[in-house]
């Protein structure tokens, strides 16, 4: 296995000033102007009412992007294995817990506690879609998108089955923001499958034996979008999305760990 390859059949996206993949694609192609504004998170209609009330930003974000990607790919969410990747668990929820634990009575709500696990979004995804397939939940700080893509491509290539990759981050309130300055929510979902089809947007691949490179990461020409890339770890995927939006072939280097870029090759269908 010299290259790990998957067909990209659907994209879901939500971020500051970015409402979905078709609108983002127009912006990345330079056909529409990028206007930054707070990320608009839709209410998760697919969840039962009790879970909908408890849904955090991460849950709303992953349900919106995941379902957009699955619909575009013509896949069934209930049968799909998933890879969730995020640079940290829910910052707001974590703030509330740590603040409560600093008080004398230390009362925290059961809902806050179960929303504190890094796999909360994966759990709600299963409840919303009925998916009993495996779900892998990863974290690698600022390299979280990169390791998610590695893991998803490995799963597609080794297991020869479709995988939905969901990368997401949500904003951190003060005082956590002072040590982890993530300003807002950004999420994307990529529906990946072993076989090329009429729906395929492109083939993505990495070198199995040497996925990393010393080359610097690609940047975006739009300064506002490049600032977004740098400020939210999940948005480190934007150079890949820009190349996809333009139907370009070639290799994109994504920010991974310090001194270690992830080289992804795009082969348009």
């Amino acid at each position: 296995m010299t290259r790990l390859t998957a067909s990209l059949d659907g994209i879901g996206l939500l971020g500051p000033g970015l409402q979905n993949w078709p609108q983002t694609r127009s912006i990345l192609r330079g056909e529409a102007i990028y206007l930054s504004c707070r990320t608009q998170l839709p209410a998760p209609q697919t969840l039962p009412a009790a879970e909908r009330r408890r849904a955090t930003a991460a849950v709303k974000l992953t349900l919106a992007t995941g379902l957009e990607a699955v619909a575009a790919a013509g896949m069934q969410a209930a049968h799909l294995a998933t890879v969730f990747t995020s640079s940290g668990s829910d910052g707001l929820n974590c703030h509330e817990i740590c603040a409560a634990l600093a008080c004398s009575d230390r009362m925290i709500s059961p809902t806050r506690f179960h929303n504190s696990v890094h796999n909360a979004a994966s759990g709600y995804w299963g409840i919303a879609t009925g998916a009993m397939a495996p779900s892998t939940v990863l974290c690698a700080l600022d390299a979280s998108f990169g390791v998610g893509l590695l893991e998803a491509l490995v799963q597609v290539a080794v297991l020869q089955q479709p995988v939905l990759l969901l990368a997401y981050d949500t904003g951190y309130p003060e005082p956590l923001h002072s040590v982890r300055p993530i300003p807002d929510s950004f999420g994307l979902a990529l529906a990946l499958t072993p076989k090329r089809s009429d729906r395929s947007l492109a083939r993505l691949s990495i070198r199995a034996a040497a996925p990393f490179t010393d080359d610097p990461a690609n940047t975006l020409t739009n300064a506002d979008l490049d600032a977004l890339r740098r400020s939210i770890p999940a948005a480190r995927a934007l150079p890949l999305l820009e190349a996809l939006s333009r139907g370009e072939s070639g290799t994109v280097v994504l920010d991974h760990l310090p001194g270690q870029g992830l080289a992804v090759t795009i082969d348009p269908s």
Binding site: M1, L4, E51, R54, S87, G88, S89, C94, I97, C98, A99, L101, A102, R106, M107, I108, S109, P110, R112, F113, H114, N115, S116, V117, H118, N119, A120, S122, G123, Y124, G126, I127, A131, M132, A133, P134, S135, T136, V137, L138, C139, A140, L141, V147, L150, E151, V154, Q155, V158, E174, P175, L176, S178, V179, R180, A208, A209, P211, F212, L257
Partner: protein, 407 residues
């Protein structure tokens, strides 16, 4: 859903170690498991004021990280460092990196709360405006990735590094990640396992869910009243097994994963997700249920978890396969539990015994009546050939591993 076909040949445990409230290193755990002793004690952790028992590792506060990685200093990474120093594990990783190249060694570790204790403490020291007044190295301590970042940095590794954080299945699922990465030829070997350390979030969180027992936890016992929280670190160095594995080798034959799609904090009542994970692990190992000689149950000692797992095990294996939970000995070590119990299974295979269900002395009559199980109340001296380890977590995330003796 069809379980996936075997994607890879077996891997072997090239090195392993475990540190928990039972002690540091393999030998103390082998002795404790053979004797059925427990490391649980009344909770005196930090300023915690809860009527519960915990599995605290002695001496964690005295551990000092190598100076160049001082920013990583937190209870979780101290516990990791303490464990890495046992059983020649650090030397085995260094030898593997020298043999294969540092970019060919992966680091896949599980944790649930990582070094969040640092942030909990910093929140107590906020100023009048709510700002931190202490140095908080968020990325190196609190962040979930901190554990894998520390282990990678400490050994100068350059392969893929990530943390799997899916609550209590975390450090079981890393075995599956390593298996796939080795099958894809991305790496030659992997440091897997997990570390979770005591913090206020989990103790007060499980208290809020009314799941903490007031006494040492007693999985599957008639009088069980909930769980005991523990802390632990377990590490395994995994590499491809030779075609003819040595008699003393311990092999990973299968890893099965599933999701419950049911509820965030309670399992599917019939254990449907658990059953899917066990079936997938058996399918990958190419084994029938009858080939399994012992199951290390997830067995947290909460009535709903034990009942769901008991039903799943009884429906798949019937009433005769020996099984037990070792959480009465260690407490529930959360994100480290899967790694800890995989190492316990390694000890059982290597030394020829089956751990008993520490803490239990009378099986819940529900299990003798509705879903009969061969639950071991005492350790048994017999040599298993194939064993299974179950790990099921919050959010309905399940993982089962099948391990075997070589030869």
């Amino acid at each position: 859903m069809q379980p996936p076909a075997s994607p890879s040949p077996p891997l072997q445990f090239a090195a392993a170690t475990v540190t928990s409230c039972l002690g540091t290193g393999l030998e103390l755990h082998r002795l404790a498991l053979r004797q059925g002793s427990s490391g649980l004690a009344p909770c005196r952790f930090e300023t915690v004021d809860l009527p519960t028992w915990i599995g605290e590792v002695a001496g964690v506060d005295e551990v000092r990280l190598p100076r160049q990685w001082a920013d990583y200093d937190c209870r979780n990474n101290r516990l990791a460092e303490l464990a890495l120093q046992q059983d020649g594990f650090a030397a085995a990783v260094q030898a593997a990196a020298a043999r294969h190249g540092s970019h060919r060694v992966g680091v896949f570790l599980g944790t649930s709360t990582s070094g969040i204790l640092q942030t909990e403490l910093a929140y107590r020291e906020r100023d009048a405006q709510g700002a931190f007044t202490t140095d908080l190295h968020y990325a190196q301590t609190h962040n979930t990735y901190s554990l894998a970042a520390y282990v990678s940095a400490r050994f100068g590794l350059r392969g893929p590094a990530m943390v799997v954080s899916s609550a209590c299945s975390s450090s079981a699922k890393v075995f599956a990640t390593a298996q796939r990465m080795i099958a894809a030829n991305m790496i030659d070997c992997a440091v897997v396992g997990g570390v979770d350390s005591l913090c206020l979030t989990t103790l007060y969180g499980f208290n809020a869910l009314e799941l903490l027992a007031p006494d040492p936890c007693r999985p599957f016992d008639a009088r069980r009243m909930g769980l005991s929280i523990g802390e632990a670190a377990a590490f395994v160095l995994l590499e491809a097994a030779p075609a003819q594995a040595a008699d003393e080798a311990v092999l990973l034959l299968g890893a099965g994963e599933s999701s419950d799609a049911h509820h965030m904090s309670s399992p599917h009542p019939e254990g449907l997700g658990a059953r899917l994970a066990m079936q997938a692990a058996l399918a990958q190992a190419g084994l029938q249920p009858s080939a399994i000689d012992y199951i290390n149950l997830h067995g947290t000692a909460t009535p709903s978890n034990d009942r769901a797992e008991g039903r799943a095990v009884a429906s798949l294996f019937g009433p005769t396969t020996p099984c037990s939970s070792t959480k009465g000995a260690t407490g529930h070590t959360l994100g480290a539990a899967g790694g800890v119990e995989a190492v316990f299974c390694m000890l059982a295979l290597r030394h020829g015994f089956l751990p008993g269900g520490t803490g239990a002395d009378m099986l819940d009559p529900a299990f003798t009546r509705d879903t009969p199980l061969n639950y071991l109340l005492q350790p048994v001296e017999t040599a298993p050939r194939h064993v299974m380890s179950n790990s099921f977590g919050f959010g309905g995330t399940n993982c089962s591993l099948v391990l075997a003796r070589g030869g």
